[in-house]
Symmetry: C2
Subunit: 439 residues, 2 copies
């Protein structure tokens, strides 16, 4: 077998066989095929597409390329969660203690932020002292005791995906659905949880721009889950505007504290949290239906148990919440810039990708893995689509790190341009949870 013949046959429309896929992925990990041929094959795959059987074969070969985790010995039902990435998506930070409080165990391997979306690891590391480089022994012990633990992805889990992802990223071959599904699902499968909920986001701030694409991914991911005997559900959520108000790292942690303290202004975030949480309970058989699961979780939130669990978890991983400032407005070394409405009307659209990019350029994110982020930087988005606004009202506030203060005017203009305001009459609010797909 050689890679040139795989390129030729894939180009001619012949699907890759399981044997070819196995050879391809083991050769890539062994480093015995040239990068330029692998990049070519990935490009051809992006034009030709992968069939369901090819995606399954790739996922299986990805999983087999490294270690797989087992949670035998953990006495709670084990669940996992993945988000396809969004702007202001801090759901994991609330969901992990929520489900832990409900008696489940959520071992979560998370990534760092790249491009316009943030990463859970970056957000957690904005808490002074918080450690994400846990040994497997520490990780298991926290998981068993607290009910949740979050760590960075290890190099031993799906090493093939790391090679493929880096090459796809460097060659603009990131959008083919089969490649996306194999990448996401192989990591979830290797991470070992029997029940998995995917938060599939769609909209201007998401990887999937429209709902049809998001649904196609969901359907492929659930098919892969079935083939591996896992319970996989998908929650389709809107990403045409930021989730919650905070977009950054430390300000998102503060917002999560607000949320689990019962703040009323974060209805969208609470909605997504409860949808994902109740689906996890249902998958584990911990509730008869989603509605009762939702009631159960709501009570845990209202009673303060989740907030207590959150503190317990952060402490278990070394974090010192007491050292966080009380609110985003008092973060040090930040230039705070208000973005005001130029005219009254109704917010009719938000360019969520643009807001993600502004937050990144304020210092909250990175374009390459080497860049250093500023934990305090980011932006607050105070309005949502459908809201009535008055002239001069504060739509958003930028928290620009001092080192980037020279970009303040440009970032202000970019943010202003991200808001569309209609003067023609009211605009409907958007639903946050678009659909729930159960296995």
């Amino acid at each position: 077998m050689n890679l040139l013949s795989l390129i030729q046959s894939k180009k001619a429309g012949v699907p890759l066989s399981t044997a070819q896929m196995d050879w391809l992925i083991s050769s890539s990990v062994a480093g015995t095929v040239p990068d330029y041929q692998l990049a070519t094959l990935l490009t051809v795959i992006c034009y030709e597409g992968l069939e369901a059987a090819e995606t399954l074969a790739m996922t299986r070969a990805f999983v087999d390329s490294g270690d797989t985790l087992s949670w035998e010995g953990i006495s709670r039902p084990v669940v996992d969660k993945h988000s396809t990435g969004g702007v202001g998506d801090k759901v994991t930070l609330a969901l992990a203690p929520l489900l832990a409080a409900a008696g489940l165990a959520m071992p979560k391997m998370s990534g760092r932020g790249l491009g316009h979306t943030g990463g859970t690891i970056d957000k957690l590391e904005s808490i002074p002292g918080f450690r994400t480089d846990l040994s497997m022994q520490e990780f298991r012990s926290i998981l068993q005791d607290v009910g949740c633990a979050v760590a960075g992805q290890t190099a031993h889990l799906v090493p093939a995906d790391k090679i493929f992802y880096a090459l796809r990223d460097a060659t603009d071959n990131i959008r083919e659905l089969g490649l996306v599904t194999a990448s996401v699902m192989s990591k979830k499968l290797a991470a070992g949880a029997p029940c998995i909920v995917l938060d599939v986001k769609c909209g201007s701030g998401a990887f999937f721009r429209d709902e049809a694409e998001a649904r196609a991914f969901a359907s492929q991911a659930m098919a892969i889950g079935r083939a591996f005997g896992r319970q996989v559900a998908c929650v389709l959520t809107d990403m045409d505007q930021p989730l919650g108000q905070a977009v950054g790292n430390r300000i998102e942690v503060l917002e999560v504290l607000d949320l689990i303290s019962g703040s009323g202004k974060l209805a969208d975030l609470r909605e997504v949290l409860l949808a994902l949480g109740s689906v996890e309970l249902l998958l584990c058989g911990m509730c008869p239906d989603m509605e009762s699961g939702r009631v159960q979780l709501q009570e845990l939130l209202d009673s303060g148990v989740v907030k207590q669990k959150f503190r317990e978890w952060i402490r278990a991983q070394g974090g010192r919440l007491s050292e966080l400032p009380a609110s985003p407005e008092v973060l040090p070394n930040m230039r705070s810039v208000a973005v005001q409405a130029g005219s009254p009307g109704w917010v009719s659209g938000i360019d969520c990708l643009q807001l993600g990019n502004v937050a990144r350029r304020c210092g909250a994110g990175r374009m390459s893995r080497e860049e250093v982020i500023e934990p305090d930087a980011g932006l607050m988005c105070y309005v949502a689509i459908g809201e009535r606004i008055e002239q001069g009202e504060e739509l958003a506030r930028l928290l620009i790190h001092e080192s980037r203060a020279a970009e303040a005017d440009e970032l202000l203009a970019m943010t202003q341009a991200a808001f569309q305001v209609s003067t023609d009459g009211s605009v409907p609010r958007r639903k946050t949870v678009l659909d729930i797909l159960l296995p």
Copy 2:
């Protein structure tokens, strides 16, 4: 500028600008862009296609990537010729002394054979003593004295094409018309002749499988010629059967000797030779029309002047024709295998690609640049499409090098399968010269 952004915009259907093309090609030659991104861009180009302006920009940047030759000081009109490659294509070996005899100068940079088609350099090197590694001084002096000289391509001429071609070859990105045109034309333009004739072959043994593709290439190549102020003509020729009878190296040299000695059995080869030759004369203004050019060349052939010129040229490059055997039948170290007709009828089709591959496997060609060829190996194809054949008649003869004798049965079966015989009635002969396109 960076290669990822070029990949992204080309994928989005935006043509590459001249500035982008210049940057791309100079960075590739400088080695400052990664192979895997260049391979990706070439793959995207094969899917998206190149527009005329992109092809022109690429050709110009290719030419500018290395040295260009000038024939100032040569007292004869300077012409060049290129063939898109075929099976049994030995035309250069006859055309060079023919045009030299007619008073032109033909400096020709040629390549080695790869895949199922042969290379002029391999054919000439099958003559004992023949040198193709001439210094520029030797080359010019032979060109001025004899009227023709043939050498291998130097590394200094269009180095960018060498990089691009090697990568295209290793990634199956060889068929996009703009890339093909830029590759062919940049080498012809850098080689400096003001008049260029392209032998554009189409059929089962050619790069272009059908006439439409061949015509599209011809039209692009002529447009490039116009843009550079060169006289470029195209002769479209059939490659659905081997050109002449011999397919190999030394046996092709023997066939050329036969041709220029006035053998009557090589009408197809003579036809292509006279068409290319008379177009060259016309482009140089050495004859008022093609017909009179043809008469002039015919006379040079009939009078023995061309044969004399051929000997003079071979001697000038060190070749010792006297050491060649008199006929293919007496070549040493060869297993000679006759291929006979199983039934009477009319030859209705010849799989020319298959015959090219058989000749290669007999020892006449190579699949990678490192392989060594056997100068005596090859095959003779004695019949043409439309010919009446009788049962048991010899259709072809394989000359298999002793080292490959174990493959004889398979090669015999492959050759037999390459001939289609109709028993239903006569089949028309094929035209060899399909069209002549003048600038």
